[in-house]
C-alpha cells in the first residue's frame, strides 16, 4: 500500500470503527438534557443491536433493521423512564441495571438462535449487505487523500452525523429544545410555567435511547453479524457516557469528541500499518503495547474530565443542573 493510502484508510477507519460512539453520545446527550442520567447506554445499544440485526436480516431490509433497532432501544428507554420518572427509582442504579439487563437480552437471544441453528449470517442477505456498502459522495469523495476517508461511507455513518447536527439544532434553536433544557436545568421552574415535565422526560429518554440503538445495530453490521463470546458493543456504551462530558452536552462537539477518541482507538488497530508506512517518523508506534492503546480512551476521558471541571464556570458548562435528580412536584 502506498504511504498516502495508509493515511486515507486510517481516516476512513476512524469513522468506520467509531461512529457508534457518536450515536451513543448523541442519544445520551438528549437523555441527559432532560435531567435523567442513564448509565444503561451499553445495554440499550446491545438490545437495539440484536433486535435490529435479527429482524433486519429476516426481513432482508436495512431500513426495517434501523427502525427495529430504534424501537427496541426506545423500549429500553421507556422502561428506564417508567422506573425513574414515574416510580422515582434511583437513576444510577436503574441505569446500571439496564446495562446488565440489555447485555443479558443480547446473549439470550443470540445464543438461543445459535443453538437452534437459526442465526442469520449477514452475507446471506443481499439487501442488508448492499445497503451497508459505502456510498461515495460525488465530487467530494474524489479529493485526494481525505476524499475517501471522509466522504465515502455507508449510509449509517452519514445518518449518524446528520442526527448529531439535527440534535444540536434541536437543542439550541428549537422551542421544544428550549423546554427540554428547562426540564433538565430546573424541573420545578419548567413545571411552574406549564411544561409537562413527565411527558418531556419520557419522550426524550425514549428518543435518545432509540438513537443509541441505531449505533448498536451499526456495530453488529460492521462485524458482519459474527456472533461470539464478546458483545458487539464491547464497552462503547461506557465510553459514550464519558464522551457526553467531553462534548460538554453539545451534540456538535460530540462529532469532534468521536473523532478524537476514534483517532486513538484507531491507532490501536492501524498503528502498526502507520509504523510500517512511515518507519522514520512513526516507527515507535509499533513498540507501544496494545494494552496502552486500549487504555488510551479512558486516560483521555480522565484528562478531559479534569479540564472540563476547571473550565466549568457557571454558564460555561452544558451540564444540566438537575441531572440525576428525580422530580416530584410535591417534594418540599
Amino acid at each position: 500500500m502506498d504511504k498516502l493510502g495508509v493515511i486515507t484508510s486510517f481516516i476512513h477507519n476512524i469513522l468506520v470503527f467509531n461512529i457508534p460512539l457518536l450515536y451513543g453520545t448523541v442519544g445520551e446527550i438528549i437523555v441527559e438534557k432532560s435531567g435523567s442520567l442513564n448509565l444503561g447506554v451499553e445495554g440499550t445499544m446491545a438490545v437495539g443491536a440484536i433486535f435490529g440485526y435479527i429482524v433486519g436480516c429476516f426481513t432482508n431490509n436495512l431500513l426495517v433493521g434501523i427502525l427495529v433497532a430504534f424501537l427496541a432501544s426506545a423500549l429500553c428507554g421507556l422502561l428506564f423512564a417508567a422506573l425513574t420518572v414515574s416510580l422515582q427509582a434511583n437513576q444510577n442504579i436503574t441505569g446500571l441495571t439496564m446495562s446488565i439487563f440489555g447485555v443479558g437480552v443480547y446473549f439470550f437471544l443470540g445464543r438461543t438462535l445459535r443453538a437452534a441453528d437459526a442465526w442469520p449470517m449477514m452475507n446471506d442477505y443481499e439487501n442488508i449487505k448492499n445497503g451497508f456498502a459505502d456510498i461515495p459522495i460525488p465530487g467530494l469523495s474524489e479529493i485526494p487523500v481525505v476524499g475517501h476517508g471522509f466522504f465515502n461511507h455507508n449510509i449509517l455513518i452519514y445518518l449518524g452525523i446528520a442526527i448529531a447536527i439535527a440534535a444540536w439544532w434541536y437543542l439550541k434553536h428549537s422551542k421544544p429544545g428550549l423546554r427540554l433544557r428547562a426540564v433538565g436545568e430546573n424541573p420545578g421552574a419548567a413545571d411552574s410555567v406549564g411544561i409537562n415535565v413527565k411527558r418531556m422526560k419520557y419522550l426524550h429518554i425514549c428518543l435518545g435511547c432509540g438513537i443509541m440503538g441505531i449505533g448498536g445495530y451499526y456495530m453488529g453490521l460492521n462485524m458482519t453479524g459474527s456472533f461470539n463470546s464478546e458483545c458487539w458493543i464491547n464497552g462503547y456504551g461506557w465510553i459514550a457516557v464519558a464522551l457526553v462530558i467531553f462534548a460538554n452536552w453539545n451534540p456538535a462537539l460530540a462529532i469532534v469528541g468521536t473523532f478524537v477518541f476514534g483517532f486513538f482507538n484507531t491507532l490501536r488497530v492501524s498503528g502498526s500499518s502507520l509504523a510500517a508506512a512511515f518507519p522514520e517518523v512513526l516507527g515507535w508506534l509499533a513498540h507501544i503495547p496494545t494494552q496502552l492503546y486500549q487504555a488510551l480512551p479512558f486516560i483521555i476521558t480522565a484528562v478531559v474530565l479534569v479540564i472540563s471541571s476547571i473550565r466549568n464556570k457557571r454558564g460555561g458548562s452544558g451540564l444540566p443542573a438537575a441531572l440525576g435528580a428525580n422530580y416530584f412536584r410535591e417534594e418540599r
Binding site: 439550541k172 434553536h173 428549537s174 422551542k175 421544544p176 429544545g177 428550549l178 423546554r179 433544557r181 428547562a182 436545568e185 430546573n186 420545578g188 421552574a189 419548567a190 413545571d191 411552574s192 410555567v193 406549564g194 411544561i195 409537562n196 457557571r314 454558564g315 443542573a321 412536584r329 410535591e330 418540599r332
Partner: protein, 535 residues
C-alpha cells in the same frame, strides 16, 4: 355574592401524612384588591397558595375562580385560569436569559426559536412598566431583578390573579417601595393580588384586607383600615406579644475580636471590604448595617476562616487568627451562622436530620470511629425544646422544616457549642414576629453571658433597638461606628449610601479602634483613658 370574587377558597383542607397543613380554610380576594396573607412560619400560608398554583391538590374543599368551581391539577391549569405565583424560591432556569425563561412557557410560540423573542419580551416588560434586559442570564441577576423577571413572567402569561410569597424578604427598602408601587398599579388595572409577608408594617401599608392563619387554621379576615399591628400580632400568635425589643445593659469586657485595616476581595477579585477597623467586646451586640452586598458576606467568611484576606490583621483575645483553619477558629470560640438570601444554602445539610446536623459540629468530641447518635439526639432535643422548633421529630430532614425552624436549628447548634464570639448574618431573614423575637432573645441571652455578637442585619429599626453599637459599611468602606441609642435611622441611611462619613469624626480616635486594644502596636489608644466608649 360569589361572582364578585376573583378567587374564593372554601373549606380547604390539606394533609401531609398525619400533619394537617391547612384545616378548613376560607379565603377570598376581589379583582382590584390586595389581600395580605399573614401567619407565622409553618402556619400553612405557602401550602395554601400552592393549591392555587397547582403544586398541591386540596384533600377537601372547593376553589372558585370568578365564581366558577374549578379543579387545579397542575401549574398548567393554574396558568390557564390566570393564576400566577411568584414563589419564595424563584422558579427560574439559571443558565437561561430572561427572555428564554418566559419564552419556555409560552404557548403556540412555533417550533423555531427566533431572535425577535428578545424584542417581544422587552416590549411587554416595558408595557407593564418594568425594566428588563431580555438577554441577561439569570445567574448574573441580582435578587430584585429575578423577582422582576418572575412578575413579568406571570403577567406575560396573562395572570389576572397574582400571588407573591414573601416577596419583600430579600429586598432592600428602596426595592420594596418600588415593588409596592408596581403592586398598586396592577391593583388599579384590576388584578387581584395575594401577598404573603411577615412584616406587619408592610401589611398595613399595602393591603386592603388581611387574612390570618395560625397553625394551619383559618382565624379571620379583617379590613386593613380597621386594624393595627398589635391586633394582627395577637390573631397571628394567639396571645399578647410584647413588640419591644430588649437591650439589656451588660458589663462589657476587653475586646474579644479586633480587626485592623482589613481588606478582602470578593469572588470576582474586586475589593469587598476596604481597610476596615472594628472590635467586639464581650457583652455587646455590634450591628453591621449596609446596603445588601456591600461586603457583609465576605466579612463573615473572612472571620470564620472560609475566605483568605488580602491584608490586615484579626486578633482574638490578643491572638492572631489570620490564616487559621476554620476548625482552629471554631475551637477558639468564634462561631458563624450566615443565612443567605435563599435561606437554605449555608451551614446545614438539608437532607440530613436535625440530629445529624448537630453531629456535624461535634462529632470530633467523641473518640473512636463510631458516631455517637445519642449525644446528637440529646442536643437536637435540647435545641428543639429551648428554641421551640416545630418539627415532627429529631430525625426529620432539615429541608422538610419551614424556613424559621431551619434558622432556629442553625443558630441553636452554633450556640450549643458555647462560643464567645457569635457572627450572625441575617438570622431573622424571612422569619415571623414570634420567631424573630425568639432569636433576639437568644442573642440577648448570649450577650448577658458575656458573648460578643456581630449582628449583620437588614432592618434598621430592629438594629437600632437590639444592637449596642452599629458599624456602617458603604461599598466595603467603614463609614463609622455609632451608638445605637444616640443615632437615628436617617443618619444610618445617610451613612449607608456614603453621604455621611463619620469614620474620621474624632481626630484622636479612629472609628473601630478600641482604646484598650490588645494589639501590641496600639495606635490611637490610651490618650485619655477615661472611657472605652467613643463619643
Amino acid at each position: 355574592m360569589a361572582e364578585s370574587y376573583a378567587i374564593e377558597m372554601r373549606g380547604i383542607t390539606k394533609r401531609f401524612g398525619s400533619i394537617v397543613a391547612n384545616n378548613n380554610v376560607n379565603l377570598n380576594v376581589k379583582p382590584g384588591e390586595i389581600l395580605a396573607l399573614l401567619g407565622e412560619n409553618g402556619s400553612g400560608k405557602t401550602t395554601l397558595m400552592n393549591m392555587l398554583s397547582g403544586i398541591y391538590k386540596p384533600d377537601d374543599g372547593e376553589i372558585f375562580v370568578n365564581g366558577q368551581p374549578v379543579s387545579i391539577d397542575s401549574p398548567e391549569d393554574a396558568k390557564r385560569l390566570g393564576i400566577g405565583m411568584v414563589h419564595q424560591h424563584f422558579k427560574l432556569v439559571d443558565v437561561f436569559s430572561a427572555a428564554d425563561n418566559i419564552w419556555m412557557g409560552k404557548e403556540k410560540a412555533g417550533f423555531v426559536l427566533r431572535k425577535n423573542r428578545y424584542d417581544d419580551i422587552e416590549q411587554i416588560a416595558n408595557q407593564f412598566g418594568f425594566e428588563l434586559d431580555p438577554k441577561k442570564k439569570v445567574y448574573n441577576m441580582a435578587v430584585s431583578e429575578k423577582q422582576t423577571l418572575e412578575i413579568v413572567k406571570v403577567l406575560y402569561y396573562g395572570a389576572k390573579i397574582l400571588i407573591l410569597d414573601e416577596p419583600t424578604a430579600v429586598l432592600t427598602a428602596q426595592e420594596i417601595r418600588k415593588l409596592f408601587d408596581v403592586l398598586r398599579t396592577m391593583k388599579e388595572a384590576g388584578h387581584a393580588i395575594i401577598i404573603i409577608t411577615h412584616k406587619l408594617n408592610e401589611v398595613l401599608e399595602i393591603s386592603d384586607r388581611v387574612a390570618i392563619l395560625r397553625k394551619g387554621e383559618y382565624i379571620t379576615t379583617v379590613d386593613t383600615a380597621s386594624t393595627n399591628e398589635q391586633a394582627l400580632t395577637e390573631w397571628m400568635v394567639g396571645r399578647k406579644v410584647d413588640l419591644n425589643i430588649d437591650r439589656p445593659q451588660v458589663e462589657t469586657t476587653r475586646p474579644l475580636l479586633e480587626v485592623r485595616d482589613l481588606t478582602i476581595e470578593n469572588d470576582e477579585g474586586a475589593v469587598a471590604i476596604d481597610n476596615v477597623n472594628f472590635y467586639i467586646r464581650g457583652g455587646e451586640i455590634l450591628g453591621v448595617a449596609g446596603i445588601a452586598g456591600c461586603g457583609q458576606k465576605e466579612l463573615c467568611e473572612a472571620i470564620a476562616g472560609l475566605r483568605p484576606i488580602k491584608s490586615g490583621q484579626m486578633i482574638h483575645k490578643g491572638d492572631n487568627i489570620v490564616g487559621l483553619t476554620p476548625k482552629a477558629i471554631l475551637e477558639k470560640g468564634i462561631s458563624m451562622s450566615f443565612i443567605p438570601e435563599d435561606r437554605l444554602g449555608m451551614g446545614l445539610a438539608p437532607s440530613m436530620s436535625i440530629t445529624e446536623n448537630m453531629l456535624l459540629k461535634n462529632y470530633r468530641e467523641v473518640k473512636g470511629p463510631f458516631v455517637d447518635r445519642k449525644s446528637g439526639r440529646a442536643a437536637a432535643e435540647q435545641v428543639i425544646k429551648d428554641l421551640e422548633v416545630v418539627t415532627p421529630s429529631t430525625e426529620t430532614p432539615v429541608r422538610r422544616l419551614s424556613g424559621g425552624n431551619v434558622q432556629k436549628v442553625l443558630l441553636g447548634r452554633e450556640i450549643k457549642a458555647g462560643p464567645n464570639v457569635i457572627i450572625t448574618a441575617y438570622p431573622v431573614r424571612g422569619l415571623d414576629i414570634n420567631s424573630s423575637y425568639m432569636i433576639y432573645n437568644i442573642l440577648n441571652t448570649q450577650k448577658k453571658n458575656g458573648v460578643g455578637v456581630l449582628f449583620v442585619g437588614e432592618d434598621l429599626d430592629v438594629m437600632l433597638s437590639l444592637c449596642d453599637k452599629i458599624l456602617v459599611l458603604c461599598h466595603g468602606k467603614l463609614m463609622g461606628v455609632v451608638h445605637a441609642h444616640k443615632t437615628t435611622k436617617e443618619e444610618l441611611g445617610l451613612m449607608m449610601t456614603g453621604a455621611l462619613d463619620l469614620s474620621e469624626k474624632y481626630e484622636n480616635k479612629p472609628a473601630g479602634v478600641a482604646k484598650d486594644t490588645l494589639f501590641t502596636d496600639a495606635k490611637g489608644g490610651e490618650t485619655d483613658g477615661t472611657s472605652d466608649h467613643e463619643a
